[in-house]
Amino acid sequence: MDDKFDCIVVGGGIAGLSAAMTLARAGNRFLLVERGEFCGAKNVSGGVLWGSDLHTLVPDYWNHDDAGFERFVNHRRLTFMDDTAAFSVDFKNADFDVPPFNGVIVLRARFDQWLAEQVQGVIDSGPHPEDSLLATDILVEELLVDGGRVVGIRTGEEKFYADCVILAEGVNNLLTRQVGLQRDYVPSDHFAVGVKEVIGLDRQVLESRFQLAGRSGLTNEFVGFASGGVEGGGFLYTNRDSVSVGLVLAMKDLGEKHRKPYDLLNQFKSHPAVRDMISGGEVLEYSAHVVSTGDMRSMPRQLFKPGLMVAGEAANLLLNSGKAIQGMDYAMRSGILAARNAVRCSETGDYSENAMAQYQSDLEDSYVMKDLKSFQSAVTLFHSPAMYDKMPRILCDFGRSFFGIRNEETPKAVDMLKSSVKKHSSLWEMAKIGFKASRSL
């Protein structure tokens, strides 16, 4: 049985690498298979990795000379925009300067590659470095199933066997579909397409323009004009020497409105507030990817089978609760929990459906599934035209009156607000939104 691994991990993204790191630390013999030329070569995110789980995976990673993240987040901004104005809620906090950070901005081709190096480091310093492997440039074409249990993978002509498989193949989860955990065709209703440009800026220009010090960074999300009337929103994140600027657009709405994602990206970049932030920059890369919306109706029916656990966005673990778009931290936590369960199973030798189900139950007990469940109504709310279209117009209209000084008799703010609401919506509609928001956020 020498050629059989304790565990095979499919996918070298954040979920897969977090699983691999956990297995490596436990001394399990595993094979991680990544189809890209290197880990991260096929991966795209906005992207912020929120929270501090990275510290549990790679302790004190901020001390590494070339830690794979771009900047830590100490400054956040949510901007409502119409065609000329931008009305922002802005929060900067020196407490967020202290490790373990509140979140880190990443570029996945760099970050995932760095994380893979950390995993390799742990493998190399373990007792049996030759028994575990991170293999790139290999496509898993099929999961091998024997008597209802997943027993391995097939890559081209070759077959590899393991006691269990952790599937971390990403949102386009073909293997999850192969074993019947997800329908063969998944409709576009609860999916979005993200488009992004990474725009290079001179580091000094970037740091003075965005008031960054050392490795600190800004995250800015945008609603309204950003998505040009299509359900969705925009983002701008500061990297080390560049900014990531992009849109997340609901796929169904985009298709029905006959808009093209890259045309909307041009429009977003032409908004005065965005234009000023990217001026003098040079486009380095254009990228795009499908992204889950956090609507639980699109999740696989369950996240395990005998010998199999599904982690990360393959399980559609992603949430936009209005506070942040969380996906990579969910990938990390789910990868860790799946691997911990794999380690537990290797100790008992039990890989039955019940033993695998413990992973899902651990995930249900974690903040990942708790938040996903408790913020479902927020997901629905943010996908309503009142939120992504009317609300930004009202706020910008109000801002124009409130912040515009005219050497004339000035109405009270409450009357300005009422007049802006009536122009774009109704007091009744906004009262309903306010009520829903107070319950869903």
């Binding site: 570029l107 065709y185 409709p187 397409v193 560049s242 796929m251 093209k260 994602p261 990228s287 990817h289």
Partner: protein, 103 residues
Amino acid sequence: MPASQPLSISERLGKVSYRNQGRASARAHIVVDTNVCNKTCPHKRTTYVCPANCYTSDESGEVHFQFEDCIECGTCLYACDQGAVTWKYPDPEEGRGVNWALG
């Protein structure tokens, strides 16, 4: 390309590195039955939502597909509800597909 200028999709795709660009021909990872698009599809949604403009519609409204510019985002896998799209990941050796520098 200055960030302040609107970019065309071909200029944007010029910033993408693809696998196996040196190969004379690559094995297609997505196969589209454009007969379905042109004869029975009521919406032709892929021609709007594909962020790499792999699905195009010509002057007469005819849908065409090419996989060479595909950046493996997966959008058409969901957007096509007519069964016209067969979607696989590209073969690392013989296929096309992306190789992100930044991601």
